[in-house]
């Protein structure tokens, strides 16, 4: 199944072969394939939920494969090299699947069993026995588990370690390519190795590597989404637009609160200086339309006693999405123009104010959350070891006053942390332990921190060299003018 999903993703990414280099095209094939699977499943089960839906989904996927194949042939994208590249990707993926099958390791908590069981019930077309899942998690991972019966397995667990491997490979390659823009191959390789080791060398990551849940899948798509947003500014065109759109949809389908994060990301990134109105709408309108329709459908699917997502919350999410969509559409009007230009800063300040407000309203609750989160990160309760100390070391080591890095990424990272903190207001306080939500959300953001660090590393010696040259020039000018 994963091989088929890879083929779908590869055919899609191969359509943009002029923009995506061969390695990147191969690395993103599996996540893109799963994203297309998730979107097709959401549409199929959203329209008609029964035992036949699984067959319909398979037919839709087959048609999608055929359509992508035809599109590749018509565009002349399916060259000999592309076929060889796809074949090589398939061989590597097969190797990864064999390795994962050989290891036979799976980590789970009780939520994992519900995700898997409810997902399996979706595949059986058992509406009553699966609709509870839509009030607990996004539908993406349950849809992956819905194909368990087709695979003649009792539990479909292999996709998770393979996607985790894919995440590590993607982070390595993207970090490498960002540093490579300004550094030698050797330095870029060393930088990518150092930064990826920050991600993989922790007991928390080891657990999540095999963990059946929405965590690393969410991290993967959020990372791809933001990487595509960065690249959209540098290489305009449909390639990174479609990657960003697919990733943001997959991310929003993975986690129940992900549309909120996506809205935050879009408010900061797509309203940043240099983004065109049209480019912004190309992402926001499909996202808003798809998710308003999906949540409207979820409203009618929720069971009598739902878990997290109640009917009222569903309506609130729809209202937020509609409001966000309308704001994006009218953001070009003269009245809203001053606000639209300052949207990232206003979003950041708004979140900071909300954080202060929730702390004032529930001081004990919020401070307990804050202290627990810090203890998880720095005192070992979150199973991180020295990871965040080393991250701090890297941030301070590579910090430069004259760095011209992507500022919206640093603003986004701080806003993300503020949002995570503020969300504690609506639930039980964050607590000590590696299963804590905030602790896991820090794992979700870690690849992005590394992406940010890679931009700092890329500029590090360049900035240092520039300032040294400037100093030398100034000193030379000073000595020439006889002041010394």
């Amino acid at each position: 199944m994963q091989l088929w999903i890879f083929v779908i993703g590869f055919l899609f990414s191969n359509l943009h072969k002029r923009t995506f280099d061969p390695v990147f095209r191969t690395l993103i094939a599996l996540p893109i394939g799963w994203a297309l699977f998730g979107i097709c499943a959401t549409i199929v089960y959203g329209v008609y939920f029964s035992a036949v839906s699984q067959v319909v989904l398979i037919v839709v996927l087959a048609l999608a494969t055929l359509a992508l194949l035809v599109a590749n042939i018509r565009q002349g994208a399916l060259s000999r090299n592309s076929i060889l590249l796809g074949g090589a990707g398939l061989i590597v993926l097969t190797g990864a699947c064999i390795l994962v099958n050989y290891l036979r390791i799976v980590t789970m908590v009780s939520d994992s069993s519900y995700l898997a069981r409810f997902g399996q019930n979706i595949g059986l077309g058992n509406y009553e026995a699966s609709r509870m899942v839509f009030s607990q998690w996004g539908p993406f991972v349950p849809f992956i588990h819905s194909i368990t019966n087709l695979l003649d397995q009792k539990l479909y667990w292999q996709y998770q370690p393979v996607l985790s491997l894919n995440l590590v490979a993607i982070v390595f390659y993207t970090v490498y390519s960002i540093v490579r823009e300004r550094k030698s191959t050797l330095k870029s390789f060393v930088a990518a190795t150092v930064l990826v080791s920050v991600l993989v060398l922790s007991n928390l990551f080891l657990f999540h590597f095999f963990y059946i849940h929405v965590m690393l899948i969410g991290a993967l798509y959020m990372y791809l989404f933001i990487f595509a947003l960065i690249k959209m500014q540098e290489q305009p065109g449909r390639a990174y637009e479609s990657l960003a759109l697919l990733s943001l949809i997959a991310f929003s389908l993975a986690r129940i609160e992900a549309p909120l994060y996506v809205t935050l990301i879009l408010l900061i990134a797509s309203f940043w200086q240099g983004w065109s109105y049209i480019n912004r709408l190309k992402l926001i309108i499909p996202f808003v339309v798809l998710f308003v329709v999906w949540y409207a459908r979820v409203y009618f699917m929720l069971p009598g006693s739902p878990d997290v997502l109640t009917k009222e919350l569903t309506l609130a999410v729809i209202a937020v999405l509609v409001g966000f969509g309308l704001f994006a559409v009218v953001s070009r009007s003269k009245i809203l123009d001053p606000i639209a230009k300052r949207t990232p800063l206003l979003t950041f300040m708004g979140l900071a104010l909300v954080s202060i407000l929730v702390t004032i309203l529930k001081p004990e609750h919020m401070l307990a959350s804050l202290v627990s989160t810090l203890e998880n990160i720095f005192l070992g309760y979150g199973n991180w070891g020295l990871t965040w100390y080393f991250v701090l070391f890297l941030v301070l080591y590579f910090a430069r006053r004259h760095a011209t890095g992507r500022h919206w990424l640093s603003m986004l990272l701080v806003s993300y942390i503020l949002l995570v903190y503020s969300l504690a207001f609506f639930s039980i306080p964050y607590h000590i332990g590696d299963y804590d939500s905030a602790n896991r959300l820090m794992l979700q953001v870690l690849p992005l921190v590394l992406l940010y660090l890679s931009t700092q590393v890329a500029e590090f010696e360049v900035a240092a060299r520039t300032s040294t040259v400037k100093n030398k020039v100034t000193r030379a000018q000073v000595s020439a003018s006889g002041y010394r």
Partner: protein, 230 residues
């Protein structure tokens, strides 16, 4: 000596950090002792080395900077790598699993503690994994909600039958059952459930019976000479 050194240096650093803050009740030594307990001496030493290298990097030339960075990275890599390797090697979590099914992982391997599927409530996932055809006889219709039974993935009305059999275990049958391979699965529930092992034993059964005695419930394969007529 080195232990005392780490504590002393740490206490000195903590006092420097605490200088502007008068709200701390504990002394630097107490906080340091607490940090040592929470983090361990080695990790604390590594953190000090990181701080020292960070400060040192501002004072030395490009080669010195690279050497200091390399030193910090190597220490981080060795410390974290060893921790991850030991966890992977020794923790029960990362063991090779023989059977990948929700029932085996929960009941036999005890991989996760389920909120919903504990004790007799594990029945729906057992039915889903190992009872594709069997009719399951329950002694009371208030034992399970219809929703929980539907999580088995099968039609609850056609799968689960209420009553019509002798549900109380008699002494000799109980002894016979307990002499066969089994597991008493409790999870987070108060009353355990007797489950025959391996779980695949239920796969070929046409009928499965939930039985009871004052201490626990029993999930008995129909081929063990229990039928609705007896």
């Amino acid at each position: 000596m080195s232990k005392i050194g780490v504590d002393r240096i740490g206490a000195a650093l903590v006092s420097i950090c605490m200088l502007p803050v008068s709200a701390y009740a504990a002394s630097p030594e107490v906080i340091m002792r607490q940090l040592v307990i929470e983090l361990g001496r080695l990790k604390l030493l590594i953190i000090f080395i990181m701080i020292a290298c960070l400060i040192g990097a501002r004072l030395v030339g490009p080669l010195g900077k690279k050497l200091l960075f390399g030193l910090v990275f190597l220490i981080f890599f060795a410390s974290q790598g060893q921790s991850v390797f030991n966890t992977f090697k020794n923790s029960d979590l990362y063991q090779h699993r023989k059977i990948m099914s929700l029932s085996d992982l929960q009941i036999i391997e005890n991989v996760y503690a389920s909120r919903f599927f504990s004790g007799k409530d594990v029945l729906p996932i057992l039915v889903a994994d190992y009872m594709p055809r069997a009719k399951v006889f329950l002694y009371d219709d208030s034992l399970y909600s219809k929703e929980l039974l539907s999580w088995s993935g099968r039609n609850p009305d056609r799968t689960f039958m209420i009553g019509g059999y002798e549900s109380t275990m008699d002494g000799s049958f109980k002894t016979a059952c307990l002499s066969r391979p089994h597991i008493l699965y409790k999870g987070r529930a108060k009353v355990p459930l007797y489950i025959a092992t391996p779980l695949s034993i239920y796969e070929k059964e046409e009928q499965v019976f939930l039985m009871k005695d004052p201490t626990m419930n029993y999930l008995i394969p129909g081929s063990w000479r229990v039928s609705p007529d007896e």
